[in-house]
């Protein structure tokens, strides 16, 4: 306690001595904008250095930059960006002054050498990311390099990160360090997306071409992210710096096109679209495959002046499964006793229509206003809407040829007009976020904000056979018809600080307060992360935090994951994260990381039994711990993860379906020469626990024979309640390779590629099916099931990416 007190006092004095010195020097601020000289388009990530000092920064997505605590005097700002001539600007700074400069860079034909900026980066977001452990940023290029079936996929790429797993090789769901997918916040330009999947959960619905970078936090994230227990996937879309850009991809799965432009410095736009075409391809071969998906994205950024920026993003994705079939019955004349008139006299036709529809879609829109109030203050106000909808119906219809007598219509109509089943589920989230960033000095900065969110649920199904579906409801009985309407309101407030206690120690304390209408109480989440520079190339990072969540869906892993139904629970689930790690970067292209974590989850909604028979849900507690070791060098990466996820429910503890005890993965890119690239990815991991959907067990049964007065014995097939986690898949390993060639022709650049998923055709079971075989040693022709693995075989694929 005394040590803690002494540390706090020391920190207090350091803080005040630094602040006092800053006030005494009356420093000034230089801020401004970097733009293209010809188009006036803002230039992001330009390097700005104050010559003769160690001070520098880089411009943000809108070309803005700020340098604080600059002593009065005359300086020269040097600005560099690849593809542009270096620019210099003289500035005279009076004590306490704030000087705005706009620096225009001129394009050059010669490529400038890469610039390494060693000065401290000063933006809040950048510093925050450096202070948080368990954060990975993935670029669009890295996503494209991960081999996936058909085409690059955002979530498949994330599953190659340590700490992120999927319950099966088919699933696109993200299980982050012991948490389940509903405990992750997935955002696209700030708007949450609830079911971000195409293809029944096999593919992400975010087109990788529109992605600039993805920030993934597997734990210990700060208070600005609320109402999620486990992880954050923050997708930031592309910033457009070019006057015009087109990107495309043609693959076996779909084709996509992205167009973007920046006609002047104040406006940038981006549109993209993607559509699968196996429904059209099937028609060419005379087959009927009545399913396709598409997604659309549009974005507009308008910079009113140096102080105001408006960003509008619109996203829509849809999957459509729609099948109709009409069968024709020829109607012949009948006599009064409904006997066929001889000779047969055809008097018309009746048509039986079968319709099966199952569309689902996602809509997300976000309008953001960024306002630079002064060099020290900036604010952000955002309005967002996110909607997830799915519906399905199977209906039989009836029609008859004109003029057919009513007698025949009545005779053939029968029960054909009845609706077999229908479901319609909609979730709609309306949210408003406001935040204020105060950057009084380089030593400490504060961001505070508020969130208002209202989520409406409207779920209904009719005549839906819940016995055979994997839709889980949380009430007794699971009736055939079900209607659920509810509203979930949440008010959240957060405050985050960034405190540079010394040149080597950065601290990021944060605090979050949430009110949820479902639980009707406030939750209070303190969180803190810190980075200590032990050596110039060695950092120690740690984080500790408390998290709460009110929404959940009621599944526990499965083959696929799509159209999950979120429910507000009358209690708040809670989690605690603890992380400690070492980050060693001996060279600019080499990094070695060790990270140990512990997560504890309280009060998670959990199905009582297996998917097939679940109609009851209770509260479970989970815990997860692990050690992640990652090494990266250039284009090569390898990691080993030890982890354990366990859940306790009804006084029984079991390993969850996403518990992967050991996992090793290596991936890399080898340049073969002559613009040929070879990408590989090999993974070896412990098989995960699974619970079969249905699997019978043979048990002995006895029947009393009154004639003999004895019991007689036989075997009986019986579905048993399998203990969760008692079966594991065998060891999983898989090699994926991609061979690609880069080609350019004028303004066009192309990259045709050939991929092999599961190159050596390893039979990793996706699931087991029961195969009945004869057991000759058993009496009475007894048969017993044997498990046969069903998995993804070797899958070749090819496509072409192009840019102009």
């Amino acid at each position: 306690m005394q040590k803690l007190l002494r540390f706090n006092l020391t920190a207090f004095f350091i803080f005040f001595s630094v602040s006092s010195a800053a006030r005494a020097q009356q420093p000034g601020v230089i801020y401004g904008k970097i733009v293209d000289d010809s188009t006036a388009a803002p230039i992001a990530k330009a390097d700005i250095v104050v010559e003769g000092t160690r001070r520098g920064t880089s411009s943000d997505a809108n070309g803005n930059f700020i340098l604080r605590k600059i002593s009065s005097g005359s300086y020269v700002l040097r600005v560099r960006f690849i593809g542009y001539a270096e620019a210099r600007r003289s500035i005279r700074l009076q004590p306490g002054d704030s000087v705005f400069v706009e620096i225009r860079l001129t394009r050059v034909l010669l490529k400038l050498p890469d610039v390494n900026i060693t000065a401290a980066r000063e933006t809040f977001q950048e510093q925050s990311l450096q202070t948080m452990p368990s954060v990975t940023q993935i670029s669009a290029d890295a996503i494209r390099r991960v081999a996936t079936v058909g085409e690059p996929d955002l979530f498949r790429a994330l599953q190659t990160l340590p700490g992120i797993t999927a319950p099966t090789q088919a699933s696109n769901q993200l299980y982050i360090r012991g948490g389940s997918p509903d405990q992750n916040l997935v955002r696209l330009d700030g708007a949450p997306i609830y079911n971000p999947f195409h293809l029944f959960g096999l593919a992400a619905n975010v087109n990788p071409d529109i992605v600039d970078r993805v920030t993934v936090s597997t734990g210990g994230f700060p208070a600005r992210y609320g109402d999620r227990l486990s992880g954050v996937v923050d997708v930031e879309t592309r910033h457009v710096n070019e006057p015009f850009l087109a990107l495309g991809n043609v693959s076996l799965l779909s084709s996509k096109l992205m167009l973007a432009g920046r006609p002047d410095s104040r406006f940038q736009w981006l549109v993209s679209g993607r559509r699968s075409y196996h429904d059209w391809a099937a028609k060419l071969f005379g087959e009927d495959l009545p399913y396709h998906f598409y997604d659309l994205f549009g974005k507009a950024v308008f910079v009113a002046n140096a102080k105001h920026l408006f960003n509008l993003s619109l996203f829509y994705s849809a999957d459509i499964l729609f099948h109709t079939e009409t069968s024709t019955i020829e109607v012949y004349e009948l006599d009064d006793l409904n006997r066929l008139v001889i000779p047969p006299n055809r008097i018309g036709s009746v048509y039986l229509h079968e319709r099966l529809g199952f569309p689902w879609n996602n809509l997300a829109a976000n309008l953001r206003w960024e306002h630079t109030l002064s060099p020290q203050f900036s604010s952000t106000l955002a309005f967002g809407v996110s909607r997830s909808h799915n519906s399905g119906t199977e209906q039989d219809g009836f029609s008859a040829s004109p003029g057919l007598p009513q007698k025949y219509i009545d005779l053939y109509r029968g029960p054909s007009r009845e609706v077999d089943w229908s479901v319609a589920n909609t979730l709609q989230d309306l949210s408003t976020n406001a935040s204020l960033l105060w950057q009084p000095s380089d030593v400490w900065q504060v961001q505070a904000g508020a969130e208002l969110s209202r989520v409406r649920f409207n779920y209904a199904w009719d005549e839906f056979d819940t016995e055979d579906s994997d839709i889980v409801v949380f009430f007794e009985g699971a009736p055939d018809s079900f209607s659920y309407r509810n509203e979930y309101r949440r008010h959240g407030f957060f405050i985050e600080g960034l405190w540079k206690l010394s040149e080597r120690l950065r601290l990021q304390p944060s605090l979050r307060l949430d009110y949820r209408s479902s639980a009707r109480n406030y939750t209070f989440d303190p969180r803190v992360s810190a980075t200590l520079e032990l050596k110039p190339d060695l950092n120690l990072q740690a984080a500790l935090g408390r998290y709460h969540q009110g929404l959940t869906f009621l599944r526990e892993g499965g083959l696929f994951g799509v159209n999950e139904l979120y429910f507000p629970m009358p209690f708040n689930s809670a989690a605690t994260h603890g992380i400690i790690g070492l980050e060693y970067q001996p060279r600019t292209d080499t990094e070695i990381k060790f990270e140990a974590y512990y997560k504890n989850f309280d009060r998670q909604a959990t199905p009582l039994r297996l998917v097939r028979s679940v109609s009851e849900v209770g509260m479970a507690d989970s815990w997860a711990y692990g050690l992640e070791t990652t090494a990266r060098r250039g284009n090569w990466q390898a990691f080993y993860v030890f982890s354990h996820v366990r859940r306790r429910f009804n006084n029984v503890a079991y390993d969850t379906p996403w518990d992967v005890r050991h996992r090793f993965q290596t991936m890399g890119q080898i340049y073969l020469g002559k613009s040929w690239d070879f990408d590989f990815q090999w993974e070896l991991r412990t098989g995960q626990p699974y619970s079969p959907l249905h699997l019978n067990q043979r048990i002995p049964v006895a029947v009393y024979n009154s004639r003999t007065g004895q019991l007689e014995y036989q075997y009986q097939e019986r579905e048993v309640d399998y203990p969760k986690g008692a079966i594991r898949y065998p060891i999983y390993h898989r090699l994926d390779v991609t061979l690609s060639k880069r080609m350019t022709a004028g303004k066009w650049s192309m990259a045709p590629y050939l991929q092999f998923i599961n190159l050596y055709n390893r039979r990793n079971p996706l699931f087991y099916e029961e195969e009945y075989s004869y057991f000759p040693d058993q009496p009475n022709d007894q048969y017993a099931p044997k498990l046969k693995p069903v998995g993804v075989p070797i899958l070749p694929s090819f496509g072409v990416r192009f840019t102009f």
Partner: protein
């Protein structure tokens, strides 16, 4: 032999070796096992069955273990002991999971409690206890009563026997059986019904095609203890397919479902295993038929 391009040759050979080793490694990886890794303790469940009866000539216990998949395996190396008010006996294994002993060494008496104790080779124990229902007797018909054969059609003849009996304490499920046999006591026709009451209108139909001569039959009443009653009703019969599957009109499907829910996951009168350890008592008499 002189190599003209030794460097290129070596490079080629080295590459070929690498490719060969890679192919072998991939082949080995392909050959890996794809069977699931099972925790046997989660699936292997022992089952024990035993039904004691005062009229049985021998005691019999069946012991088996259900597997993750495939047929249950009999357990033949356990020590099976049965004890009662007159002592304790050890049943001998006769193979296929069966343990037997002559009933005379430990007579089963109505109203008495008997205990089962099974010790498996690994030391795990299965125990059970059952109280035999008390003795009862058939009140009507009297032994050797004679019933007249009725002709209901040119093909079918009927025998109607009103039956009553006393109720054994510890039993609520009963079974009425009546058989008509030929002169060699081979079965010609019969009647069998479950009941929870102590009376039954026994009707036996005999088709003329049987062609046999007959003049007597046997009426037998069996009363089960509660363990076997619940086991029997919840094991075989389902109400999902409609009430016609219900074997016992006096007990509703809802009641059978309730019994199933209460007992499906645990052994009846048994601890340490699934299965059942129950008892039956019975009484029977011979009746005669007058053409």
């Amino acid at each position: 032999m002189k190599l003209i391009f030794p460097v290129k040759y070596n490079q080629h050979r080295r590459r070929r070796n690498i490719v060969l080793r890679l192919a072998v490694a991939l082949g080995l990886l392909m050959a890996c096992n794809s069977d699931p890794v099972v925790d046997p303790s989660a699936f292997e469940k022992p089952y024990v069955f035993g039904l004691l009866s005062p009229s049985a000539k021998q005691h019999e216990i069946f012991l088996s273990i259900a597997q993750f998949q495939g047929n249950p395996q009999p357990i033949d190396d356990a020590r099976v002991r049965l004890s009662g008010p007159t002592g304790e006996v050890t049943l001998a294994s006769v193979g296929k999971g069966l343990y037997r002993n002559n009933a005379t060494t430990l007579p089963i008496s109505p109203g008495q409690t008997y205990r089962l104790r099974i010790t498996r080779r690994d030391g795990r124990e299965i125990t059970g206890a059952v109280t035999i229902p008390t003795a009862f007797r058939i009140l009507r018909p009297a032994p050797n009563d004679t019933f007249k054969l009725e002709s209901v059609s040119s093909f079918t003849k009927l025998i109607r026997i009103p039956a009553n009996w006393t109720k054994a304490t510890g039993s609520w499920l009963m079974q009425t059986e009546a058989y008509v046999g030929n002169t060699n006591d081979r079965l010609i026709s019969g009647f069998q019904r479950l009941t929870t009451t102590t009376s039954e209108a026994v009707t036996i139909g005999i088709h003329s095609s049987s062609g046999s001569t007959f003049n007597s039959g046997i009426l037998k009443i069996t009363q089960f203890d509660s363990a076997y009653s619940i086991y029997y009703l919840t094991k075989n019969f389902s109400c999902y397919d409609g009430p016609y599957r219900n074997p016992l009109p006096q007990i509703t499907c809802d009641e059978i479902k309730r019994l199933r829910a209460a007992h499906q996951n645990r052994g009846l009168n048994v601890t340490g295993a699934d299965g059942m350890f129950g008892a039956v008592v019975s009484d029977s008499l011979r009746f005669f038929i007058k053409p």
